[in-house]
Subunit: 504 residues, 2 copies
């Protein structure tokens, strides 16, 4: 399989790359109606190209001809005076077969079909006709009935959502695109997809590629995984899925091999009977027996999330921190209550919070005698440095715990409210963690300026930060789960040897 | 008991009121050292009085005399030329008995003791001496070893945390005080308390009073509940507790009667053995057998939370929405995926998501035929209005569902990203909900400007808003739990009749 997957990945890479890095892209259905998807997509692509953010040349096709945003509108794709490797299709469903035929004759390689009105409303035959034509002409398809693709590096963006929207008499950023990063996100739901992008933007979590494949007539999660395998910008893949209809066996085979190299994070919609009923009505997905799905996800080593918050938190941890070699967690804190809540959550998730062994305890007590750690600090794990904690206390305690083999992962709770902890401590802490390949995440609780600043700064330095102790522990737990999978396959050491801090 | 609790509440009100509404307040240990608690507290109180935000006159006591912030520093409390009903004590522990004696002779009614160094480090005798003196002179005590009290209405604030802190070369809001609101918050952990205040500030959740009682030598959660019973600014009480040592029986009796009038939300630190071990080291609390605690909390009808996020989310829902009369939830959405995630969470929590009965279905289909609801909308519950949903679609669907007796509570998911939903819809929706006493919470997913604006606007209009479908459902679940408790005691109808929308 190891040989196979490399060949499959190379094939996927060649066939799908024009979705993300086309030389030329044409919007079929570029429209003068500013409320239409064709207007928005053509405008955003045109502007991106003009601003130098998108290398690909952008062409518009509209049967009425004319021009828009200073660009000619061609009446038919065959009038475009150069090759078009990627078409974005926003015409009504019934015209899509003709569009594919014309594009196929012109040698187009990939089509992102935004148009709705296919199998999702019962037009199965029309969708099958589209698939057949695509096969005939060797065109790969994303869609129909999705938002298409977004590539934060190349600038390709087929989402028909304007950035801004009116809020009363102001314009606010309503559909933000996350900055370039290390996460590929595949979503069966377009609306949930764009909501998550909005959430990612707010969290400062960067993206490599977003794929909203709609009815997945052709490209599905398995294809996306194959593409992501060698994509150096993608360190983790997150998948929102309601049902996997086709090639379930291939998904398992590819998924398993993929997870040996990069983590997959999954949020499955329709885990319960109420959710499954909703999923059937949404994407006609057979959400199916969740036990079967969970068995599959478990076999491929995917990290399965319980909710949207965990989906994002887990992804952020896996994108920036190495997997954990075991389940022994050290909690360093300057707030007793926060340390207790973290301990509770850790035990509920099956993590261990073992007390320190004698040599570590001795080192910490010596540091305390030397005045580096406050006299009221306690070292039971949580290591509670107390409200009198200084930058120095954190540095000493962290260095000792990082170098102690009894602990596999660290939760660093640093409530910024205490007087003696100055803002420089974040850089100081990050400098220490760079020396180790032991996972660490940070927690600061609060919603005002300083709390936000502290968490953003930790994030920027590659230490994922969370606003509650429980969310921090839950993120660490994902690193433990991924480490457990790698260990099971005797790959953990090799993985850690190759692992490098992401730089952004 | 009903008679008793009113008398007890009236007694508590009279004896504790000087903590929140003193005529005169003195800081014993007002200090010239800007890094000391005595400096911060004296400065904040003095400034608040000068700015007209605090009615009480502020006095400083420091054995060295002199002046600070333009105020005389008295060498002893007995030199202050008027009555002092509230003293804030920040002197070293060993001087506290003398301070209490002097204050007692002067007729002081309450003392907030910030000073640490009592039972929490083994100085049990010193603490007992303080309690004895307080009893002798009829002084009520909050503390020692806590942050004291904050009253968002009267301006009393004994927290020794400056508002701002340096972040690099900027000053950022680091220890914000939430705006006036309807929540009383009692915390056994000072650091967790101030973190939660920070979180509340960020969420825009207002507060009535905050009590950080530290070692709770005198005033504890039972006293606070008695005070809160008739406090018209307090609609819900949130309690972070690690252990209830004293008057457990009284807590049960008072708590049970309290819950019949106002909800109690509890976060218990030390639910697990790891957490209990941490709690023992933090506040010397016997976190004890969690089953016993849960039985007690269940008996008093408290809403017990699993984590910090739920603690805040639940409180916000209970502060602004009425309890639910049953567990049948309607989900209205414009995103299929979000509706599915909400359904999954609802079923996991034991809520029902029943499909509509024939008459409701008929009304919705008629509205669809009339073009008020998009043709692709589905009504299986979730009521998925689709990405083509308009303000009108939401209004029609909401009105129908609110007036349908099959549903006890509503989750309104309104993803702002869709093009036809304009920002006016929030006001329009709020206007409809005002006519009903059926609980509703809103969800919009995202972290950029518009998502934040939408949620804040919902919040301001009294419809608690959440950033994920699951958090919305979890908040509704708290309203169901509280309704179930009231129903068990045949109090639901009476409660709902008296219930009014909070106005702020």
């Amino acid at each position: 399989m190891n040989m196979d997957i490399n060949i499959l990945a190379e094939t996927a890479r060649r066939s799908l790359d024009p979705f993300f890095n086309p030389k030329n892209i044409a919007v079929i259905g570029a429209s003068r109606d500013p409320y239409s998807p064709g207007w928005v997509i053509f405008k955003l692509l045109t502007e991106a190209h003009k601003a130098g953010k998108l290398k690909a040349k952008v062409f518009g096709v509209n049967p009425k001809g004319g021009s828009l945003f200073g660009n000619t509108l061609y009446k038919n794709i065959n009038e475009i005076p150069c090759d078009v490797d990627h078409i974005v299709v926003v015409v009504p469903a019934r015209y899509v077969p003709k569009v594919l035929e014309d594009a196929g004759k012109k040698g187009t390689k990939v089509a992102t079909i935004i148009s709705a009105g296919f199998s999702e409303i019962g037009n199965v035959e029309l969708e099958e006709q589209v698939i057949k034509l695509a096969r005939t002409y060797g065109i790969r398809i994303i869609g129909p009935n999705g938002l298409g693709v977004f590539d934060a590096y190349s600038g390709i963006d087929t989402m028909f959502l304007p950035y801004n929207k009116a809020a009363g008499d102001r314009e606010l950023l309503a559909a933000p695109r996350p900055k370039p990063g290390f996460v590929m996100f595949i979503s069966q739901s377009g609306a949930l997809g764009v909501s998550v992008l909005d959430y990612m933007y707010g969290e400062g979590l960067g993206i490599s590629k977003f794929i909203s494949y709609g009815n997945k007539a052709d490209v599905d999660e398995t294809d996306a995984l194959l593409y992501a395998l060698e994509d150096e910008k993608t360190r983790v893949v997150m998948i929102y899925v309601e049902g996997i209809k086709k090639q379930g066996k291939k998904f398992v085979e590819i998924g398993k091999e993929f997870s040996k190299r990069k983590p997959i994070v999954i949020l499955k919609g329709g885990r319960t009977s109420a959710g499954a009923r909703a999923a059937a009505s949404h994407t006609a997905s057979l959400a199916g027996n969740i036990k079967i799905y969970d068995a599959v996800f478990n076999e491929i080593g995917a990290i399965v999330c319980n909710d949207l918050t965990e989906f994002l938190d887990t992804t952020k941890a896996l994108a920036f921190q190495p997997p954990a070699a075991g389940r022994n967690v050290a909690i360093i804190t300057n707030g007793g209550g926060a340390g207790i809540l973290a301990s509770d959550k850790a035990e509920m998730l099956g993590l261990n919070i073992p007390p320190p062994q004698d040599d570590l305890l001795k080192k910490l007590k010596t540091a305390q005698k030397e005045g580096l750690i406050p006299p009221v600090a306690t070292f039971a794990n949580p290591f509670d440095l107390s409200g009198s904690a200084t930058n120095e206390s954190y540095k000493v305690a962290l260095e000792y715990v990082l170098s102690d083999n009894s602990y596999d992962a660290i939760l660093l709770i640093a409530l910024h409210h205490v007087p003696l902890l100055t803002s420089e401590f974040i850089d100081e802490i990050a400098n220490i963690t760079f020396k180790y390949k032991k996972p660490i995440v940070a927690v600061d609780v609060g919603g005002a300026e300083m709390a936000i600043w502290v968490r953003e700064k930790f994030d920027r330095l590659g230490i994922p930060a969370y606003p509650t102790p429980e969310r921090g522990i839950s993120a660490l737990n994902a690193l433990v789960k991924y480490g457990t999978f790698l260990k099971k396959h005797n790959l953990l050491n090799e993985y850690l040897n190759k692992w490098t801090k992401p730089t952004r």
